[in-house]
């Protein structure tokens, strides 16, 4: 099959890696097209045509363009429903509703504090930017409260939306990977029994391991 699927952006971007993990789970071949963000390529007119907010990733499938990583993931799951991990976005409306619920929780409760921490702890040092200790403390407290809820949810079920790995769990991989591996916030996950068990399981999936390899410097 010709690789008509294109993903634009660097694999170290959390949002790009979310899409890559999904493509791996669905066994969809793709071309990864580099976007040189250090040179401001993502703010140039040709790029803004495919992503008007100047962010990564952008995505194309047979000339059909999309942006926003979670929309791209949903589209991949719908279009390639019959291949790879078939249950990734649920195989019936009730399963889908439950997955959507946890995707939204990831978007609105987990992502805001964890994204600030990823930036402050994993990226700011690399970019030689001064860390904002106040923001770190404040968002650590927020993240702890969210993970307390996850701890209870994961006591009752193996994964967030039920007993199978879904897009809802996958969506958490990029930020958690940085916090566990590139910062001292890892304990927030590993010292909670159920969250720790869940993280171990989702991060050892082959689809994610491939992304981790791609994030390493060439």
């Amino acid at each position: 099959m010709a690789t008509s699927v294109k993903v634009y952006g660097p694999p170290i971007s959390t949002a790009v890696s979310r899409v890559l993990a999904c493509l791996h789970e669905k066994e969809v071949p793709y071309q990864l097209i580099p976007v040189n963000m250090a040179k401001g390529e993502h703010k140039k007119p040709e790029y803004l045509k495919i992503q008007p907010f100047g962010q990564v990733p952008a995505f194309e499938d047979e000339g059909f363009a999309l942006f926003e990583s979670r929309s791209i993931c949903r589209y991949i799951c719908e279009k390639y429903a019959k291949q790879g991990n078939k249950g990734l976005y649920g195989e019936n409306p009730l399963a889908k509703a439950s997955i959507d619920q946890w995707l939204e929780a990831e978007s609105h409760s987990f992502s805001p504090p964890s994204s600030v921490l990823v930036f402050q702890l994993a990226f700011a040092p690399r970019m030689k930017l001064k860390q904002d200790q106040g923001a770190i403390r404040q968002n650590e407290e927020k993240l702890k409260k969210v993970l307390d809820v996850y701890e209870e949810t994961l006591r009752e079920s193996r994964f967030l939306a039920g007993d199978d790995f879904t897009l809802a769990d996958l969506s958490h991989l990029p930020n958690t990977h940085y916090l566990v591996n590139s910062s001292d916030m890892g304990e927030l996950f590993t010292e909670r029994d159920n969250v720790g068990r869940w993280w171990s399981e989702i991060s050892s999936r082959e689809s994610w391991q491939k992304v981790v390899e791609m994030q390493k410097p060439a």
């Binding site: 929309s71 949903r74 719908e78 409760s109």
Partner: protein
């Protein structure tokens, strides 16, 4: 029919989002009021419905859901044949709708909520507005609305040619902001202004507004 229950109240932007969808789809439901001032949303009985202790929570028979944007998607799919179509059957059109729904959630909502807090909530609670924050976030929201202005020049609604969830999700916050100084951000952009006038005039949204005390 086992019955739909929405736990929350019409003053909550998230609950209003679901109310708008329920009215658009013309499905019957029961609104179960949650007294947030009395902390009802942090009590065990509510946490059983939403472990994050936020409104709304939603029930349809045995199905229990939280997160307003997951609830609206469920309503749009489950009751596809009733009322206004809020999603598209074509997968590409649906994907584009989904893009702009994500933009609302991730790009529009954070600065818009910040402005709502400073310009609408703080005065309501008797606290002082921080105008430095207002200036900063009006500038941010302005840049985002520039992208919306272009988009709405190419497409009648954000998600495509027809009104959909992508537009609906914006209603609760826009309702607040149009009653503050931030309304200028919407009024000075012709396509955005026309879109706001159109979506806020919808009968289903007017029903939600009528449920509020003000």
């Amino acid at each position: 029919m086992a019955g739909i229950k929405l736990h929350g109240n019409a003053l909550s932007t998230a609950a209003s989002r679901v109310l708008a969808a329920l009215y658009e789809k013309e499905v019957e439901f029961e609104l179960v009021p949650i007294d947030m001032i009395a902390g009802e949303h942090k009590k065990e009985s509510f946490l059983a419905l939403n472990p994050f202790g936020q409104v709304p929570a939603f029930e349809d028979g045995d199905l229990q859901l939280f997160e307003s944007r997951a609830i609206t998607q469920y309503i749009a799919r489950e009751y596809a044949s009733k009322g206004t179509p809020l999603i598209f059957p074509d997968s590409k059109k649906m994907a584009i709708l989904s893009v702009w729904a994500e933009v609302e959630a991730h790009t529009f909502d954070p600065p818009a909520s910040k402005l709502k807090d400073e310009l609408a909530m703080k005065p309501f609670l008797g606290l002082a507005t921080d105008f430095a924050v207002v200036e900063e976030f009006e500038a941010k929201l302005g840049k985002i609305l520039d992208v919306y202005e272009t988009r709405l020049g190419q497409s009648k609604y954000l998600g495509g040619d027809c009104f959909s969830l992508a537009d609906l999700h914006h209603l609760p916050i826009i309702h607040y902001l149009m009653r503050t100084q931030a309304k200028k951000l919407f009024e000075c952009r012709p396509n955005v202004s026309a879109w706001v006038a159109d979506i806020t005039a919808r009968p289903a949204w007017k029903k939600v507004v009528a449920m509020r005390a003000y």
